[in-house]
Symmetry: C2
Subunit: 245 residues, 2 copies
DNA sequence: CGTAGGTTTGAGTCGGGTCAAGAAATGTGG
DNA sequence: CCACATTTCTTGACCCGACTCAAACCTACG
């Protein structure tokens, strides 16, 4: 299977065959992590960057009162903690939501590539930009949308991101998320997510089974959420000569 | 007055006198922008990075229904759109919340510094890391805290950030924010923010006047919000030799 | 002054939270 | 292959925090 990080990069940035090899070479140390295991725990010192190759993970933060907020859902091709080597301790944890394949990448290796190859530095800058834009889109979602549109918006985002790295692009998007995970990602309760999903099922926007759901009507969800995929920058945009030096 | 970006960098990263000069040299084109003016409007193509030298600004997004969500408050020393040159069009707007001084910096100049001087590249990586962590802290705040603690948490964050770049560190922190701006930053309504501020005033945590408020009891607010300043990384952390290459 | 932007307050509503109990899958060990 | 435990989902009744709408009130400023 193709390296999903490279698939994503090539959508946005010019990488030649040698660049691709250099990135591929980072993914030597690949491991299987079962569902529910923490790749990183809050407060730990971690000296490796994680690249999700398959499966889903979540970045989360626990509050003193025991509640959890998921701050990012991590799909294949997502890098976790690109700059972790600058931190004495991680600010938050990362859990596997499904069994996953992860590459453990030494931060120095990335720093070296970045410093040597402008095209790779450019790709990583792009990566940071999209990551930031996604995080901000979550703020907008939580701050200014009601539960129904909020859930719909998340599903649109995930469908769009998944489409880029999916091995089965013809299948309707499927999310291996429990209702509690959706709730923790959106600042809702699991009970209320249940009622929202019930409504979405009633309107035939989705189907759901224990531990996962499938999108039936993505255009419908997009309209409901007022979804605009700009912030994910799924379209092609090549670097200028100046930016590449 | 000292360049607030340099003040921030020197807290976290090693920069020698030459590095400082190089950064200072970026801030040649300084402009005054009155309150209420948009530095950037959503959908525009913008070919300059903004560095706030004094005053407050906000990054925001407007929704079709007319509501606004502020996704970041920008204080002196904050860079807006570090990677803007990679974008065909900005995903969101930036307004001056007070009269501000801004340096207009050409993206190429930063790219060149970054590529040439590892210590500056390191400082900018650090900057991105803290920016991301702050954005994620906002998600947690909006997702899992009630209005009172949510407001308190924002005030703690702003006090902490301001302390680093304040010209009057002995004065109690003062925020030139309207209640509507606070509401738009926190996913609340102005009416409800008014009631929360009333309560904070009653408990003598703050005082407020038209168009601004002052913190009286920061420790009290921190306790109320369960505030932990880790994510802002206000403490010193020097780069490793490896990271600097 | 007059006006516009900002603040304050009240009354009523509603979206989503809380609590609690039960049902349906899934997994585990004998 | 069955008995039992666990996780996840579902549903109902009730409640409360925050929103809405509306009116009045400041206060800075032109």
């Amino acid at each position: 299977m193709d390296n999903p990080l490279i698939v994503r990069f090539r959508r946005q940035c010019h990488l030649d065959a040698a660049d691709v090899d250099r990135i591929d070479y980072l993914c030597t140390d690949v491991r299987d992590v079962p569902r529910g295991v923490n790749l990183v725990r809050e407060g730990e010192r971690v000296e490796r960057i994680h690249l999700i190759l398959s499966g889903w993970a979540a970045r989360y933060k626990l509050l003193p009162n025991g509640s959890r907020q998921i701050t990012a859902l991590l799909l294949p091709g997502d890098l976790c903690d690109l700059r972790c080597s600058m931190l004495a301790r991680m600010d938050d944890g990362i859990v596997a939501l499904t069994p996953i394949h992860v590459a453990f990448v030494p931060p120095d290796a990335i720093t070296r590539l970045e410093r040597t190859w402008p095209s790779i530095a450019h790709a990583l800058s792009w990566y940071c930009l999209v990551e930031q834009a996604t995080t901000r889109a979550w703020i907008v979602n939580m701050g200014r949308r009601h539960a129904l549109e909020r859930v719909a918006h998340l599903f649109c985002e995930l469908s769009t991101r998944l489409a880029v790295v999916s091995d089965a692009p013809d299948q309707p998007p499927h999310f291996p998320l429990t209702q509690e995970e959706i709730a923790d990602a959106l600042g809702l309760t699991a009970v209320h997510v249940n009622r929202v999903l019930h409504e979405l099922r009633r309107r035939e926007f989705i189907t759901s089974r224990r531990g996962g759901l499938t999108i039936l009507d993505l255009p419908g969800l997009k309209e409901m959420a007022g979804f605009n995929d700009n912030y994910l920058h799924p379209a092609m945009a090549m670097p200028t000569e100046a930016a590449l030096g």
